[in-house]
Structure formats: C-alpha cells, structure tokens
C-alpha cells in the first residue's frame, strides 16, 4: 500500500468506450495477487474529489508496468480517458486481497468467469495460474459485440467462451447459460463482474470452491471509512470491507 505518481505509458480505446491504460512506476513492485486494485486520483481539481478504484489487469515486473482496463462511465473515467502519454497520475495501491493463486494446486482446472469490466483482472490471473500448471477455462460475458475485449488474450491461456446478452457475438445469453450448456467442468471458480452475475454464480455453484471479486462504491479504499462493507451473514453486525478484506472473497464469506 503506497502512494505514488505513476507515468502514463499509453492510454487507448480497445472496445466501445473501453480503455486500456498502462502505468509505470516503482509502486508496481508491491503488487502481490491478481485481483488487487489501484485507487486513482483522476484530476488535481476538487471535482471529481474522490479516487476511482480500478482492478489491475496485467503486471510486467520487468519494466515496472501495470495496466488497467476501464469503461468510460461517468466524469472520473472520462477524465482518465483524456490522459496523455507521459502525464502523471496520483495512485494509491496496490490495494486489497486478490485471487488466492497460492491455494490452487497444479493440475486442477479453474473456471474464470468475467462480466464486462470485470474481465480485466482475469488476465493476470490466467497468466499466474497457467504458470503454475493450473488449467484455465474462460467464460466472458458482454452486452453486445461492440463491447467485447480480451478474448484473444484469454485464448492464449486456455479455452475461452464468449456470451453476449444480445447474441451479436459468441453465444447469446449469460455466462451461467454457457457454463450449463457447455457442461464445463472445474475444480475452482473465480469470477469478477456485476453483482447479479456473482449472485447467480454463488447460487448455482456455491457448493464448490468459488472466489468472487466484489464491487462497491468506495470512499477511502483502505479500510478507514466503512463505505464499502458487505454483510457476511454470520450475525446482524458482522461484515467485511471490500477494499481491505477483499475485493476477492470466498463465496461463503459474503452475503449477496
């Protein structure tokens, strides 16, 4: 957990309103697990005031570079998309606990399920898992053909299925439809994406070993403000913090 200014190496649109930005700096050395995130100050002005959380998509320790993939949604991500090569960004990170690569044994099969801008962290995850000898299968869900990205990158590591909600690319339907229809077999499921998707996965595969990366609006990003809590279901007052304890949790740790 460091605060530093990283240099923008590149920043370009890779799908409809989806940008990839590569950042360089010493801070990269502190990265440990795929699924960790960066908390970025997108502007020096007082508006937007808060930082923006973005998952780390890819790390290259050799050159101290990380990439993030983001959708231009509101003002913050729009400002981010305007950053020029060579400019500096105030970054807090790497934050949180990612996917527990260390706990997945070689030879096992991991099903990686990503939805929309939940897909990015799966790239580094795939890389780490395959390096370790884990077999990976990817299921990626998008709204429409124009939103699809990262299919090629995933194919490099293992089987990859793409679903679009409107059927304009790959299979028509949701990621859960694909898993069922293709009868995909796996030992562990790792997923990142919108909450309804995570919920469906937990419901259908909760008896298995499932890890979910959660999203919640954040204040501090470091555990101090209690903005990003998620109930565990244990007791009335028990909770975890997405920013500090997560964003990746075992499915049974979070009440969805």
């Amino acid at each position: 957990m460091k605060k530093a200014h990283l240099t923008v190496q590149s920043n370009s649109e890779i799908a409809d309103q989806i940008y990839k930005m590569v950042l360089k700096g010493e801070l990269v050395r502190h990265f440990t697990e795929p699924g960790q995130f960066l908390h970025l100050k997108v502007s020096d002005a007082v508006t937007p005031l808060l930082r923006r959380p973005l998952s780390i998509a890819d790390v290259d320790f050799a050159v101290n570079e990380v990439s993030v993939i983001y959708r231009t949604d509101g003002e913050g991500t729009r400002l981010l998309s305007e950053k020029k090569e060579g400019s500096m960004i105030d970054v807090l990170g790497p934050l949180g606990n990612g996917f527990p690569v260390r706990r997945i044994e070689p030879g096992k099969t991991a099903l990686l399920v990503g939805g929309g801008v939940g897909v990015p962290p799966l790239q580094e995850l795939s890389k780490r898992l395959t390096e370790k000898g884990v077999n990976v299968i990817h299921v990626l869900g998008f709204q429409s053909a124009k939103d699809v990205f990262y299919e090629q990158e995933c194919l490099a590591y293992g089987d990859t299925y793409v679903a679009t909600a409107d059927g304009t690319y790959g299979e028509k339907g949701f990621v859960t439809d694909i898993i069922r229809e293709k009868q995909l077999e796996f030992d562990v499921l790792l997923s990142c994406g919108p909450t309804p998707m995570l919920k469906a996965l937990k419901q259908q595969y909760g008896h298995k070993e499932v890890y979910l990366s959660m999203e919640e609006r954040m204040g501090c990003g470091i555990g101090a403000c209690f903005a990003c809590v998620c109930r565990t279901g244990e007791s009335d007052t028990s909770y975890v913090k997405v920013c500090l304890d997560g964003p990746v949790f075992k499915a049974e740790e979070v009440a969805l």
Partner: protein, 311 residues
C-alpha cells in the same frame, strides 16, 4: 509555534483527523507515525456494535461527497478492549466521538470511554444526519442538546466537546444553550444533509436516500458558522468542514477555531494531515503570524490589527 492548549487537550499542533474519516487509526498508521498528529477523533462509538446503513453508502458531488455510513462501529466494549489500547502506542490525545439513540446510551458510552487512559476528551455526536433516532434530533433542538450535554457532563471523567449540526436556522442559539449546559468546547461542523439521484435508475444513489455532505463544497458554510459561534461563546471550538490545505486550516483559525479537524481529505490523500502540519509554519509566517494562538479569531478581533499591518 503550533501548540494549542484546550480543555483536556494539550495539542502539539492544531491538526486532528475528524471522526469517521480515520477509523480507529490503524489504516493510516500504515502510512505514517500517528504521533505527529495534534490529536485523533476516533469513529463514533455506541454502546452496542452497529452495522449501519445498507450500501451504497457514499456518492460523489461537486467538490464534495455524501455519506450515509450510519454510525457503523464495533461497539463500546470492543473499542475499550481493542481499539483504544492499540492507540496507546502513539503520543497523541484521543478524542472519543460518542453517539447513541437516547440520553442513556450517550451516558453509558461517555462514562466508560472517558475512563480509558488515552481518551482526553469526548466529542458528543448530536449531529449525525444518517441515523433514524438520536443523532441530529438532539442537534437541532437547543433544549434537548443542553439536557444531553448536562447528563453527559455528570458522568464524564474528561472534558466534553459537543459536535454541532449545520442543518439549523440559528446555530449560535444551540451553541449558547450547550455552553450554558456546561460543555467544555464545541466541534463544528458535521455534514449538511444532501442527496444525489442516479439518473439511470431515477432513484437516490445512497441506499439510505439522504446522506451527509462533506468536503470543500461545505467550507464556506463551516467558516461562517465558526465565525458566528466563536463570537457568541467563551468555550473553544474545533473547526472542520472541507479542510484540504494549511491555508484552509488557517482560514478556520482566523474565523475563530482553536484547532482544526480534517475529514474527507484523508480519503483523497492519506498523507493530508502530516502534510498540513508540515506546511503550517510556512503558511503562518507567510501571512505574518508567529504562532497558531495568535491567529485564533483574528477575523473578528478588530481591536487588534493583523500582525503584518503592525510593522
């Protein structure tokens, strides 16, 4: 040059992280040594543990943010057993923020938490806009605020500061009632009640619908209130609302605050408190001051000329 002495609080400098914006210090201790701080206002503590409001709990606004945490905290016992002892390693006084639904709740928390060795003052939170009972209800009625202050003063082992709500028509009236009831100091301001809608769903972004507005957007409201209240009461004020820089802190001092709390800015820059502390001497000198105490209330102490006009 930076020291300030207030009831119960010998502050090495006037900069204090604001309650709810610094947890119980653990996270920020990962960034710097908390002993550099003037003091620490810890997260509101209630007698029982609370989960608070459903999420989303924060939303962003122009130059500000809304929060509706809802006083989530691990409860008095846990704070006494774990959080406060852990904070003892730092050489800085703790100001314990006390909340509740009824007078009895406040009394219970105040009585016990005020006996913790490193708690040097209490901050009565009668201004939280994000809970259904207690909180802001006490903060908008002078009589209720006074009664609560009196009740807590009776049981507290340390000086009691009362945290004022800005969501009132006449803040000096409430401040005077609280002073008359025996408060040792005031802290102000808590957040303004606000809301933001999500255009996509047509609904409020916050699950709690309304939230408390903080950040630079509210600084002019806070400065105005500190300016007015500091002239109406004799007890000291810890000012807050939108402080991001040493210049902002100076503005609060000039307005009449004796110390300054920093809230939302901690989320933007975790190092903001030590950075303000480091900058403050230079900024004081730049505007012609030799010490913090000299600045306090300068905006209305017209009998004295500002230092740099003396020469």
């Amino acid at each position: 040059m930076l020291e300030v002495n207030l009831p119960g609080l010998r502050l090495k400098n006037p900069i204090i992280p604001a309650s709810g914006c610094f947890g119980f210090g653990k996270e920020y201790a990962g960034f710097y040594d908390l002993s550099c701080l003037g003091g620490i206002m810890i997260k509101a503590t209630t007698n029982e543990a609370r989960f608070g409001n459903p999420t989303p709990r924060v939303a962003e606004t122009s130059a500000g943010m809304l929060n509706a945490i809802g006083l989530q905290n691990p409860g008095l016992e846990h704070v006494l057993k774990h959080e406060l002892p852990w904070l003892e390693q730092f050489d800085t006084p703790i100001i314990a923020n006390v909340a509740g639904s009824q007078v009895e709740d406040y009394k219970e928390v105040a009585e016990h938490i005020s006996k913790a060795p490193n708690v040097h003052a209490l901050e009565l939170n009668i201004s939280c806009p994000n809970v259904k009972t207690g909180g802001i209800a006490f903060g908008t009625d002078p009589a209720m605020a006074a009664d609560l202050t009196k009740a807590v003063k009776e049981v507290s082992a340390v000086p009691v500061y009362v945290k004022l709500s800005p969501n009132v028509a006449n803040i000096t009236e409430i401040a005077k009632a609280i002073e008359a009831a025996g408060a040792d100091g005031l802290t102000m301001i808590n957040t303004l009640v606000g809301m933001r809608l999500d255009l996509k769903t047509g609904r409020p972004i916050l699950a709690n619908k309304t939230g408390g507005l903080s950040g630079p957007a509210i600084k002019p409201v806070a400065i105005r209130m500190v300016y007015e209240v500091s002239q109406a009461v004799q007890i000291p004020i810890i000012g807050m609302g939108g402080v991001q820089t040493a210049e902002d802190a100076l503005e609060f001092l000039l307005a009449g605050a004796s110390a300054v709390a920093v809230g939302t800015a901690n989320f933007v820059n975790p190092f903001v408190c030590p950075e303000i502390i480091e900058q403050l001497p230079r900024v004081l000198r730049q505007y012609g001051f030799q010490s913090v105490s000299e600045c306090i209330g300068r905006s209305w102490k017209h009998e004295k000329q500002p230092a740099h006009h003396r020469a």
